[in-house]
Amino acid sequence: MMVLLQSLISGILIGGVYALIGIGMTIIFGVMRVINFAHGDILMVGMYLTYTLFSSLGIDPFVSIVITIPLMFLFGAFLQKVFINRMLGAHPQNQILLTIGLGLIMSNTMMLIFTSDYKIISTSYSSESFNVAGISISSPLAISFLITAAITLLLYWFLLKTNTGQAIRATAQDREAAQLMGINVRWMSILAFGIGSALAGTAGALISPTYYIFPQIGGIFTLKAFIITVLGGMGSIIGATLGGIIIGVAESVSAVYISSGWKDVVVFVLFLLVLLFKPAGLMGKSRM
């Protein structure tokens, strides 16, 4: 029982970060109908940014997100304005090629700058943990979960309560109607890609104290982001939040009860099962 509780809690903690990755992807998809296959690579750029700030300036990874978030937002906005925007309305396969290509450029650029050696950010608390009622909780995971929760709440507030947030949702729900409301949908797309990239970059920063950093790590997270978004329902933010937590828990529970080598199998089987019974995803009907 204790073991189950332990693995559930660590699953939820890592699931929070997954949710952040998934929400970013789903916002981009929702507003632009573009599947961002560079999402994991953007996360990877966030990791290296965090690494650089840590190794050269000594800024703590959790503190450095105040720099990472705006920089990654600008990076995403740039990608949208210069590349993705030209492909809106193009064939999906061309959009996929574009985002995959952008991802390759990012990972290879990082390889040129940092080589493909694994980098580690070792903070004083990297392997620290604390006990709550007999359950041991990893400190960096707990901190990152709190930050994730705060960011997610802030994002929900932004999308539901502010004029700009509502305009982003309106654009996702009906692009043409949004234009007829006087919403500049091109600007909303830039914002959405910026926010999506900022979320991915932040997720990269938050996991950097507990993960190896290397240029090819993006692929793993693109796949995860894809599974989370499809599982939750493409374009649904609540779905992505839920999907992230479910994937986190599934990984952590199966790693404990089966073996860590099998956790991906469990995740994929779960993914296929959900799609079998709810082809539109858990929150398929609800959009942003």
Binding site: N163, Q166, A167, R169, A170, Q173, D174, E176, A177, A178, Q179, L180, M181, G182, I183, N184, V185, R186, S286, R287, M288
Partner: protein, 234 residues
């Protein structure tokens, strides 16, 4: 107020509008009637800049619209209520209305305009918290018109507002259009319901396969032999 001059437009190789001339003066209800595929909706889409025309021009109060984006057209005071309502399905009635006043100039009047819309459509007030996507066609049409009014339009473009509605509701919607016009909004109405729209319009244009074939006062056209034969089944 609105001047469409020799407008030509095509979807790919298929030309949809041929030298369309159309004028709307301030305070008028002008209607464009015609069969399905005559180019009525396409004309409105051009005014809203959702599509880009090939040749000709559209000017609003002397300003050439060719250089403007759809959102800028709304800021100038031209608001379109699109065919098929295009309500934001995951937003409540009030949220939909609030989106209608997204442009900065309309935001200060937001609450007053919501009250105004609720007065025109008491039904919307009852459904305040309901999600747009779950409402009936008639309620969605009321919401779409209400949402259009939220931006304080000078000119409202209505695309087939009576489409798919029950006869009683059709009458109600046309009464509302007249009411909106009396409140000072100029109306450009595109309709397949030829009888009702000619009845309320000051002036009308008949479009056939992308060409203006007839124009005149609403009542005149109502008694026109060609119109009677082609559209009214008389």
């Amino acid at each position: 107020m609105l001047n469409i001059d020799k407008l030509n437009f095509s979807y790919g190789d298929m030309q949809v509008l041929w030298d369309v001339d159309l004028t709307v003066n301030e305070g008028e209800i002008v209607t464009v009637v015609g069969a399905n595929g005559a180019g009525k909706s396409t004309t409105l889409k051009n005014v809203s800049r959702l599509v880009k025309w090939k040749s000709g021009s559209i000017a609003f109060n002397g300003i050439d619209l060719a250089r403007h984006e759809p959102h800028e057209v709304v800021e100038m005071g031209i608001v379109q209520v699109p065919e098929g309502r295009k309500i934001f399905p995951e937003m409540t009635v009030v949220e939909n209305l609030r989106m209608g006043s997204f442009i900065k100039s309309a935001r200060p009047d937001r609450d007053a305009n919501i009250d105004r819309v609720f007065q025109l459509f008491p039904r919307l007030k009852e459904r305040e918290k309901q999600l747009g996507g779950t409402m009936s066609g008639g309620e969605q049409q009321m919401l779409a018109i209400g949402r259009g009014l939220m931006a304080n339009p000078k000119l409202i473009l209505l695309d087939e507002p009576s489409l798919g509605l029950a006869p009683l509701l059709v009458k109600f919607i046309f009464d509302i259009i007249q009411e909106i016009n009396k409140q000072g909004v100029t109306v450009l109405l595109v309709e397949q319901n030829v009888y009702q729209s000619l009845r309320i319009a000051h002036r009308a244009y008949v479009l056939e396969t992308g060409r203006v074939v007839l124009t005149g006062k609403g009542e005149e056209l109502l008694n026109d032999e060609h119109v009677k034969k082609a559209f009214l089944g008389m």
